[in-house]
Structure formats: structure tokens, C-alpha cells
């Protein structure tokens, strides 16, 4: 068995294409996904959304709102004519057009519905969703403040119109003081919701962890597919038949193949984790013992699964197609390509049938989450289970579909 593994490792070392696919490509992909998820330096920012603003009101209030929006880093503001602004949105050059119609400031000051409108590119609904927070918090702060003051004043003047004029003036002055900027800053009514990210240690780069774990498991499955496919390669070039003529048992051949694939998987995972540690500063020492368990279990599940798929087909070409479909599907639903939280509920549940899901969740645990050992261990246990079941079926189909051909 060891001789088969040793020979395969030697062949793997000499196969430049396999080395590229197993190490260089995953490194490139990890770097790419890490950049996408903002994990490279932990401060990566996305490109600001380009918004056109048409100020038909042209008052100090609208100017103040626009000035505040200009200071918002998530937005890039451009003042524009209404028709031109609409054209730019329709042509996809701008995400949205915000229009303050004339009478905007008056309506706000009178506590009425302020005439303003946001036009957006229907094809960019997602971007609108992302910039909504920056846009709305700014506008609503002003509208709420000015509109609120006007509304309170109007209510007091109408309700208590029989009060002496001096008292009403004093009340109005008090309202002005209460709604002034200084007062608003100290007011508990106007305080914004404080948002604090909770994690067991500071500066955990979840984007980087997602990029590393997701890419690592996807590329590992592709590598193991290549290793598994070598069983059929040996069948096609006649070396399997020659081996079966020797004193070696067919199962020693199969498990020798799995052993070499397992060793390659361990090396691949280790190299990719070390790359992420040295280049991106991924903390591998958050739970080192757990990390070792994850590496061993993920490698085992991927190896056994790759071997199992190889035994399903009759030719290399046939199996290559099966691999491509299965791995892409598993990676897509398992969270390798898209983070799970972005998926609908039913897909998040379906993800559990994939190796990717359990591996990614396990790596999240050992690289940053504060889970108990029991909560964590379920993930490597499921992966070992995947591995054992796949190994059983690999042996079954190897005997039934490949070895039996010679019988």
C-alpha cells in the first residue's frame, strides 16, 4: 500500500499541472477572495456609490443636507440637472438620482411631507440596499429635526392659542433651544444606535477566514478529484492490470491511492494556511489543536469523496464531468463561492449536505469563534463520517465496477 502511495507522490511531484492546480491556483484565488471580502488588510473599502443630486429647492436646508452627504465616505455626490440626472441613471452611469423639489425646506419647516424623490437604476437594487443606510440617516436627521420642531411649535400654538402672547413666545424660544444642534447632540431622543461587533478577540478578519476556508476546501476537492481520477488512468494505461497480477491485493492498491491523496491533501491545506498566516496574517493559533483536527478531518473527507467519485465512472472523461458538476454544486451551496448568510434559508439548510459547509463552519470555529468543544467537534465528526461513508462506497464500487472487469 505504501509503495503505491510513494509512487503516486513521486508522480504528483513531477506533474507540474497538478502542482499548479493544487498550490498556485488556490493561492491566487485565496488572495482574490480575501481582497473581495475585505480581508487582506482588514481595512479594505469598497468603491463609493455614485449619486446624482438635483437641488430644485436651492435653500440653505437642502445645501446643508447635500454638504453632509458629501462627507459620507460611502457616497460620491454630483450635483446635476434633473433631466440629465435621469438620463445618467437610465444609462447605468449613476446608481441613483436624489431630487429635492422646490418647497422642500418650507414643507420641512412646516412639519409637512417634504417633496423629495429618489430615482434609482432598477438593475442596481442591491447597491441601493447597501447605500440606503448612509443616505437615509443623513436626510432623515435633518428632516426629522426641522420637521419635528415645526410640528411641535404648530401644535402648541393651535392647542394653547388662548395663552398670553409672552408665554407663547417663551415656549417657542424654549423649543428652539431644545431643537438646536447643541441640544440635539446631548439629547437622548436623537442618539443614534451604537453598533458594536462582538467577537472573542479583536480584529478577527472574518472576510479573510471566509476566503481561506471557502477557497481551500473547493480547491482541495478539485485536487482530490485529480488524485482519484488516477485510478482510472491506471486502468486505462494497463498499470492497474499489471499491479493486479502482482502479489498486491486490489484493496491495497485502492487504499494506497487514498493514502497518497490524503498526504497531498494534508500538504495542500497546510501550505494554504501557512500562506494565509505569513502573507495575510491569519491567526492560526486561536485554537491550534482544533485546527489540527479540522485539517485532518477535512483532508480525509475530501480524499475519500474524490476516490468515491472516481469509482463511479468507467472512463476518465466520464468521471471528470461528474467531478466538475458535483464540486461546483457543493461549493456553490456549501458556502465556498458565496458566504452562506447571503443565501436564502432553504439553501442554507441544503448546504449541510456538502463537505464545504462543515469544513468552512469548522474553520470558522477554530480560527475565530468562541464555541464550546462540543459545538465545534460536531463539524470534524461529520467530516470524518463523510470520509468513512465515501471510503466504504469507494471500496464497494471499485470492486464492483473496476476490479470486477478483470474477473
Amino acid at each position: 500500500m505504501w509503495e503505491i502511495a510513494k509512487k503516486d507522490l513521486l508522480l504528483f511531484r513531477k506533474d507540474k499541472k497538478a502542482l499548479f492546480l493544487s498550490f498556485l491556483l488556490p493561492i491566487v484565488l485565496i488572495s482574490l477572495f480575501a481582497a473581495i471580502y475585505g480581508g487582506v488588510d482588514g481595512k479594505a473599502k469598497s468603491k463609493p456609490q455614485q449619486i446624482s443630486i438635483c437641488d430644485q429647492d436651492n435653500t440653505s436646508l437642502s445645501a446643508e443636507i447635500i454638504s453632509n452627504l458629501r462627507n459620507e465616505p460611502a457616497l460620491e455626490i454630483e450635483l446635476i440637472d434633473f433631466e440629465e440626472g435621469k438620463k445618467k441613471v437610465l444609462s447605468g452611469k449613476r446608481t441613483a438620482l436624489l431630487c429635492f423639489y422646490s418647497g422642500f425646506a418650507d414643507s420641512v419647516n412646516q412639519g409637512k411631507i417634504a417633496p423629495m424623490e429618489l430615482f434609482f437604476d432598477d438593475a442596481k437594487k442591491m447597491e441601493i440596499g447597501l447605500m440606503q443606510k448612509a443616505l437615509m440617516s443623513n436626510i432623515m436627521r435633518f428632516v426629522g429635526e426641522k420637521g419635528g420642531k415645526a410640528h411641535v411649535k404648530s401644535f402648541i400654538n393651535q392647542k394653547y392659542s388662548d395663552l398670553p402672547e409672552e408665554i407663547l413666545d417663551e415656549i417657542n424660544r424654549d423649543i428652539d433651544v431644545e431643537f438646536s444642534d447643541e441640544a440635539s447632540t446631548n439629547s437622548s431622543f436623537n442618539s443614534e444606535l451604537t453598533v458594536t461587533a462582538l467577537s472573542i478577540q479583536e480584529n478577527i478578519r472574518w472576510g479573510l477566514i471566509q476566503a481561506v476556508a471557502g477557497t481551500l476546501i473547493m480547491m482541495l476537492l478539485f485536487s482530490m478529484a485529480g488524485m482519484g481520477n488516477s485510478i482510472l488512468q491506471e486502468k486505462e494505461n494497463g498499470t492497474l492490470k499489471r499491479i493486479l497480477f502482482s502479489t498486491l491485493s486490489p484493496y491495497s492498491f485502492l487504499f494506497g491511492k487514498m493514502l497518497s491523496a490524503y498526504l497531498v491533501a494534508l500538504i495542500q491545506i497546510s501550505v494554504l494556511l501557512l500562506f494565509s498566516y505569513f502573507v495575510f496574517g491569519l491567526n492560526l493559533f486561536f485554537n491550534p489543536f482544533g485546527l489540527i483536527i479540522m485539517v485532518l478531518s477535512t483532508a480525509f473527507a475530501a480524499t475519500a469523496f474524490g476516490t468515491f467519485i472516481a469509482t463511479l465512472g468507467s472512463t476518465q472523461k466520464q468521471v471528470e464531468s461528474i467531478y466538475t458538476i458535483v464540486i461546483i454544486l457543493m461549493s456553490a451551496i456549501g458556502g465556498s463561492m458565496i458566504p452562506l448568510f447571503l443565501m436564502p434559508d432553504f439553501l442554507q439548510k441544503a448546504a449541510m449536505v456538502s463537505i464545504n459547509y462543515w469544513a468552512i463552519q469548522g474553520f470558522y470555529d477554530v480560527l475565530g469563534r468562541d464555541n464550546s468543544w462540543m459545538e465545534f467537534l460536531i463539524k470534524p465528526l461529520v467530516l470524518f463520517g463523510f470520509g468513512l461513508i465515501s471510503s466504504f462506497f469507494a471500496a464497494y464500487f471499485f470492486h464492483r465496477r473496476i476490479y470486477k472487469e478483470y474477473k
Binding site: 509503495e3 503505491i4 509512487k7 513521486l10 508522480l11 513531477k14 506533474d15 494505461n237 494497463g238 498499470t239 492490470k241 499489471r242 499491479i243 493486479l244 497480477f245 502482482s246 502479489t247 498486491l248 478483470y406 474477473k407
Partner: protein
């Protein structure tokens, strides 16, 4: 050494072997001849213990193949039709792998491999990947891989397919050396000249049945053929060629594997003087100008063709 008793093997509906028996003595060079699909490779697969017969028995060195042990399997070396090696590994790496697969001790293994590479005239290319080898060199290393564990029994399944005459001549010398070493060899090939020169005995199989078995001389005697008469003559027209081909004399030769063209006739018969005079008379009657007449003993190819045609028609 190899005792095959009434073995039958089917693949689904196809009967690959039908109650085939053969016995190969220790140190004997036995060739199995037959057309493609005759059952030669199945026979080798069964004798090598790769598969089991549906019925019948096979004994290798006295051991029933059904209860074959690792020690008995280690006595077998097989050279398959295809180059069953790892292209990206060097000749030495390939041989080391096959030696270890046969559980050969590492002690002195490098020296053994050096000796085999020398024997195969591949010592100077030992560290090069075999993907860079010529067809003939690949065939030689394919044979070498079957010799690394020094087996007593060798199965060669068409080991010289697709190589140039020089390489074939070299491989022929390897077979001769192995035969002289006393190896028991089962050999299949479509190159009957090699078979004729190397074989102690020859078995002819077709449709999974042993048609005939014996030494070349025995087979020649059974065929009744003695010599072939090769006649070269001035080019004749197609019409005349057809006329001559349809005569009973030429028809009988064609039935035994002879040939007839516009300028050459390969006549096969079993009564030399009588045949020769009849041919000369036939050609003279039709005013065909004879240029040259050669009389040679029949070779294995002619005997094989004659026997298979006769046996098939009967």
C-alpha cells in the same frame, strides 16, 4: 510447470474459452497462436491468477490457481500488450516501483536494477523519463519491469507490437537469453518468424478452442506442407490472371494459403516435383514467360494459415 485442464470462460454471452487444455513444461518456450479475439489474452489472464475460470483447473508449479498464494504469484512475470508503465517516471524509478510491488528486498536492489538495465541496453537512459523513450526502448523497459523480481514463469502478450525491425531483433535476443536461462515462457505474437525460431511448442487456438498443438516440425507434418514454390513471371493481363487463378491447381494452392498476382505466384502444395511440373505446364499452355523459380521449405506462417483454414473448413 503450467497445467491447464479443460478451462472455460465466458464474458456474458461470449464464450472466450471452451474447455481449453494445455501443458507447459519447466523451461519450455510455448507460443500460443490465433487470430485476434481467439482467447489468447484471456488464457494469460487466467493463468496469471487475475481472473478465475468458470470451469476447469489451472495449476502453476503444482498449486491450484484458485488457492494461489503470494509466493506462487511472485513466480509470475507478465509483459502485457500495452506499455503498462508510468511515463513520467524514469526507467529506474519504474523498475524500483515494480520490484517493491513484488516485495523485493531493498538490499542489493539497485545492483539488480543496474544489471537488468544493462541487459536491456538501457543503462545510459536509466534516469530519463520513459516518455522520452522510442517505441523500441519502451518495449524493452516494459519487458524489464516483468523481470525485476526474477520470476520463473513469464507471460508475454504480444510484446513486440508496433516496433521497428532492429528493436524487434534486439528483443528477440532477450527472449533467447531468457529461454537459455531456463525460464518457462508463454508467448503470443503475430510475428510468426519469431515464434518459429523461439518456440519449443506451439498451440493454435481459435474461438477459444485449442485447434492443434505441437512443435513446428510436428505442425508442419500435420499440415502436410513441405515446400513453397515461388514463381516470378512476365506481367500478365487481369483476364489471364483470373483464368489461371480459377484452375483447380492454383485454387488448391490458394486454399492452403498460397497467393497469385499479375507477376508472382506463391504456390503451396505437398508434392514438390509433381506440383512443379504441373505449374510449368500450365504456364506454358498459356504462354506465360517464367523469369524465376524458388523452392523453399514452408515457414510457420504458411503452416499456420494452412492448418487454420483446413481445421476451420472441417
Amino acid at each position: 510447470m503450467i497445467d491447464v485442464r479443460n478451462i472455460s470462460k465466458s464474458y456474458g454471452e461470449i464464450k472466450a474459452l471452451k474447455s481449453l487444455s494445455l501443458h507447459i513444461k519447466k523451461g519450455e518456450f510455448y507460443s500460443l497462436l490465433g487470430p485476434n479475439g481467439a482467447g489468447k489474452t484471456t488464457c494469460i489472464n487466467l493463468m496469471g491468477g487475475l481472473m478465475l475460470p468458470d470451469s476447469g483447473e489451472i495449476f502453476l508449479d503444482g498449486t491450484d490457481i484458485k488457492t494461489i498464494k503470494k509466493q506462487t504469484k511472485a513466480k509470475i512475470g507478465i509483459v502485457p500488450q500495452e506499455i503498462a508503465l508510468y511515463n513520467d517516471l524514469s526507467a529506474r524509478e519504474n523498475l524500483l516501483f515494480w520490484a517493491k510491488i513484488h516485495r523485493i528486498s531493498a538490499h542489493g536492489l539497485n545492483e539488480k536494477i543496474d544489471a537488468i538495465l544493462n541487459f536491456m541496453d538501457l543503462a545510459d537512459r536509466s534516469n530519463q523519463a520513459i516518455s522520452s523513450f522510442s517505441g523500441g526502448m519502451k518495449r524493452r523497459i516494459n519487458i524489464a519491469a516483468a523481470l525485476v523480481h526474477n520470476p520463473d514463469i513469464l507471460f508475454f502478450d504480444e510484446p513486440t507490437v508496433g516496433i521497428d525491425p532492429q528493436s524487434r531483433a534486439f528483443i528477440y535476443s532477450i527472449f533467447k537469453a531468457l529461454k537459455d536461462e531456463g525460464k518457462t515462457i508463454l508467448y503470443t505474437s503475430h510475428y510468426l518468424e519469431e515464434v518459429e525460431k523461439l518456440s519449443d511448442r506451439i498451440g493454435i487456438i481459435d474461438h477459444g478452442e485449442m485447434l492443434m498443438e505441437g512443435s513446428f516440425e510436428e505442425l508442419k507434418k500435420k499440415s502436410g506442407l513441405k515446400e513453397s514454390i515461388s514463381i516470378r513471371f512476365a506481367n500478365i493481363e487481369d483476364k489471364l490472371m483470373q483464368l489461371l487463378k480459377n484452375t483447380p491447381l492454383i485454387q488448391s494452392s490458394l486454399a492452403l494459403g498460397g497467393s497469385f498476382s499479375n507477376e508472382k505466384c506463391e504456390f503451396i502444395g505437398n508434392k514438390r516435383s509433381e506440383d512443379l511440373s504441373q505449374i510449368v505446364r500450365l504456364f506454358a499452355d498459356h504462354a506465360v514467360l517464367i523469369h524465376q523459380i524458388d523452392i523453399q521449405p514452408v515457414d510457420l506462417e504458411q503452416v499456420y494459415l494452412c492448418l487454420t483454414r483446413t481445421l476451420r473448413s472441417s
